[in-house]
Symmetry: C2
Subunit: 416 residues, 2 copies
Amino acid sequence: MPLVVHKYGGSSVADAEKIQGVARRIADVSQKGTGVVAVVSAMGDSTDELIELAHSVSQKPHPREMDLLLSTGEVVSCTLLTMALADLGLEAVSLTGSQAGIHTDTSHGRALIHSVDTARMLKELKEGRVVVVAGFQGINEDNDITTLGRGGSDTTAVALAVALGADRCEIYTDVDGIYTADPRIVPEARKLTEIDYDEMLELANYGAKMHPRSIELGAFYNVPIYVASSFNQTPGTLIHNIPNNANANEVQMENRIKATGIACTTNVAKITVRSVPDQPGVAAALFEPLAQSGISVDTIVQNTSEDRTTDISFTVSGTDLPAAIAKVEELSKELGAGDLISEGGLAAVSVVGSGMQHIPGYASRMFRVLADGNVNIDMITTSEIRISCIIREEQAQEAIRLLHRGFQLDEPDPVD
Amino acid sequence: MPLVVHKYGGSSVADAEKIQGVARRIADVSQKGTGVVAVVSAMGDSTDELIELAHSVSQKPHPREMDLLLSTGEVVSCTLLTMALADLGLEAVSLTGSQAGIHTDTSHGRALIHSVDTARMLKELKEGRVVVVAGFQGINEDNDITTLGRGGSDTTAVALAVALGADRCEIYTDVDGIYTADPRIVPEARKLTEIDYDEMLELANYGAKMHPRSIELGAFYNVPIYVASSFNQTPGTLIHNIPNNANANEVQMENRIKATGIACTTNVAKITVRSVPDQPGVAAALFEPLAQSGISVDTIVQNTSEDRTTDISFTVSGTDLPAAIAKVEELSKELGAGDLISEGGLAAVSVVGSGMQHIPGYASRMFRVLADGNVNIDMITTSEIRISCIIREEQAQEAIRLLHRGFQLDEPDPVD
């Protein structure tokens, strides 16, 4: 029997009517003889409401308790969807992350999935049931509930698709696919028919609304991920391995040398540590303690040094800035470094596209487009398939529009 | 180390401020060196809200899904209370019913506790933590979440007190003890300092706001249950074994021959099956299938028969009436019985008191009081320590007031 994993985001199950709509979509697939495992997020804004509730009781809610609290949001939506499926005459069963056998490590709030024990899901599927799983959550070796971090239900869905050997993972959401840029900012943005895992990973890491870990997982196990709307039947975007070798047809070759999309992350902050002694181990001495404090560092830039010191700049989430400053002040004293400069209100705009780095002039085109738009670039980093610039947050939307036009993303592909 | 189990009802944890208040109460006890296991109900009306949500999605929510859905309410309040305890500097940990090792049978919506595996709770207590347990829920042998029925958190609390060998179980609620009648109906109702398990069981079964199974459990294992207000320090009521033998002091003897309290159940319905063949096995043939359909039958009266047939009357909850009628119609045909008469809108008023049945005139006093108040009696049943009359629901409050006065419950005890 063919098997698919569906994932429905919070906006797709925001109220009773939408839940009934999702049930009908699943029924259509199930009644054609395909096994369905459906992963659901919490209804609408209910996760935010639970976070607010926790903060009304406690100034600094304990992470373990926060995880157990937040996990209830997905349990609610998953039982409601199961009830709606039963009303349509389908056999269905809801499972918590724990009941679905999702085992994670012990890091509350950002747990990693270790393994999936599929026994219960396989038993239910074998008995002809649709299995509805609460996304975003798992259980650790202490039998405590963990959560995977915001957006974690995408990763739950792909992990289940991998573990169950599903034919593909389908992510249903409030947008109908992956676009060359956010269509709310760039009206002429185009929907992509397909995209490579690597490019999608960069887009997800730099602003697209998908949990990056779900893409990594899909890429590693080569599970095709289809992203489409839960509200209509418009064709979506397929994230999969796009062959890029001599056998690939010319159209795709042509496609490959274009940028794929523009991504943007806001609420970025920058910290610069001046006059750091330029000696081995200094970067580790700075960044290891930050990681241990749970502060995620994104872009790191180390300038070449004139004397025997160097300046190190890096970006963190604006939310983490106060904690990062406190930690870095302490560390820079120990290291005998100089002043510390920090700045919030920044954004990272990125141009993503496979093979971009092998095409001369891509980086300079990005800088030229931004310069012509009077957008000042604060930091630059590049990867194999991405160029990112840190700019002022208030210029981010304009920068996205300029880059979308500057890289001709508004012009249709020869194939489309 | 002394150990107590506390239970806080929904109104005691209805909002952030109340939860913080509960945390302070627990902290006071814990900081004096007493181990505390706290069982909590869902916040305020949140269980009703979840039921409403389920009915907005499904006309007849699946019982298994309903249980998992409703169990989230207690998980939310239990994590919030744990966060509040941590803010007061206490080590605390929240456990779901499953994590607390509460194993039940598989009857969803009214599961019975089979056993409690105390390993996790004992480990946490040993490490000096306050253990906060989500009430009302457990896990069955299929690893599915079950609930114990409305008010089930009381039973969770007493079961944990039994399993952990706690010194006593303290039920904190929005009333400050057990009264001779509902003080909202009878303003002169008096609070009881103590009450015997048997009497309390009758009061709970016939209207007092406690889960009757919690009293049965406390009686069987002889665990003292203290009922008091969660909002003030007013002394409450102790439910325990009151010695009733030659060694008991005279005051208690005197106390024993008085009625203890008046209880009332509303939303009662009556079904009468006419001309049932009067032969062995006929009652079983009627009531076994009803029980199997999950319909709980309360009072049963079988009239003496003139010919070889008999009339059987019984009461059910008004909510179960349509289902009960459908079932009984089917059964009475099979039995060759006559007409079926049903009536809703009834109430059961009960006078409860140990040893009452040995005192002549108690039953007749009840009938006289009701007759003088023009309250018509529809059915009568008696137990060792209770006399109940089925009357019209609209006369229930007046009947309670009349009986409270008629049995001199408004007059202070010689001891009080």
